[in-house]
Amino acid sequence: MKRIFALVLVAVVGILLFSGIYSMEGFPRYGEAEVSERVSMSYIDKNVTRENQEVVFGVSENLETGSANIVTSIIVNYRSFDTLGEVTVLFVSALGVSLLFGSFEGRLRSRYKPNFILRTGSKVVFPLILVMGAYIFIHGHLSPGGGFPGGSMIASAILLMYLADEDFRVRIDDFKKTEGIAGAMYVLLGLVGLMISNYFLSNFLDTGTVGTLFSAGIIPVVYVLVGLKVGSELTGIITDFLKGEVE
């Protein structure tokens, strides 16, 4: 009975969605979006507040953001306040997880012992994953990736160590400190921008040449901070989930 009712409801919602979306005036058909008529075009041309000028990889200097990855320039420059809120949401959920697991003792144990290859191989792979994670968040303004994927990769390296070694423990207090310092630095950077150019999180550093590592002003700095924060936060979540013993 419940299932039939749910099916009817889903069918009604589906018909409403399909008819509502595809009869809407101005909704683009799939693959025919007119980017040049949208606000995104000024993000691509980097002319939100400045005059129109040509952007050429490796040549143009002192642009509005100087980030070769346009998605990154939106996330960490034009809509950086949004990212600060996003990082706060992640922090609050990590806090909630650690509150819920506060009364759990000990550590979960797998029914199977980690074998020799996993134990030895993880020690070889662990530093490589850490370096790859750091590479991804340092190069967030040049290549796909950024602080969030890089941070998740660092947390995945810690998860691998937890799976490979039953007695492995991270010093979780150090991760908590890293997280707090990185988050506070992000807000401080925003306040420095407020002091120098009158709005919060403005890009006050020199933006350099598009496509070089030291370019894009505060974008790489913010992404390193976000990477460290997300990495330590996810490590905290993983550590909390491994608490508790199964009877």
Binding site: R3, V35, R38, G58, I74, L90, V97, F148, V210, G211
Partner: protein, 114 residues
Amino acid sequence: MIQYAGIMLILIGIYGLLTQSNIIKIIVSLNIFELGLNVFIISVGFVREGIAPILTSVNNHNGLVFVDPLPQALVLTAIVIGLGTTALGLAFARSIYRQHGTLNLDEIGGPSNG
């Protein structure tokens, strides 16, 4: 096409949310819902023959046809928040299991009907 697939995933997610009573399955349904929504938002900005919105030494100037970067930026935010809600939901699931010994919402007895 991809856009219809996104809407279908949204509908599957809603169906799961309405019918399932196991907490883990509810969280999985929520994730399917979210995935469909993300696929739909990304598909709104898709341009046929468009390239990824990253300047490289090959695609090196702003006159090329790029895919709309704004939906991608918004979806990145949505993915991270989805991760946060999923982690919190799973933490609730474990603490409910410890308190009641079951993950099925129908089997949890309150003080009045237990």
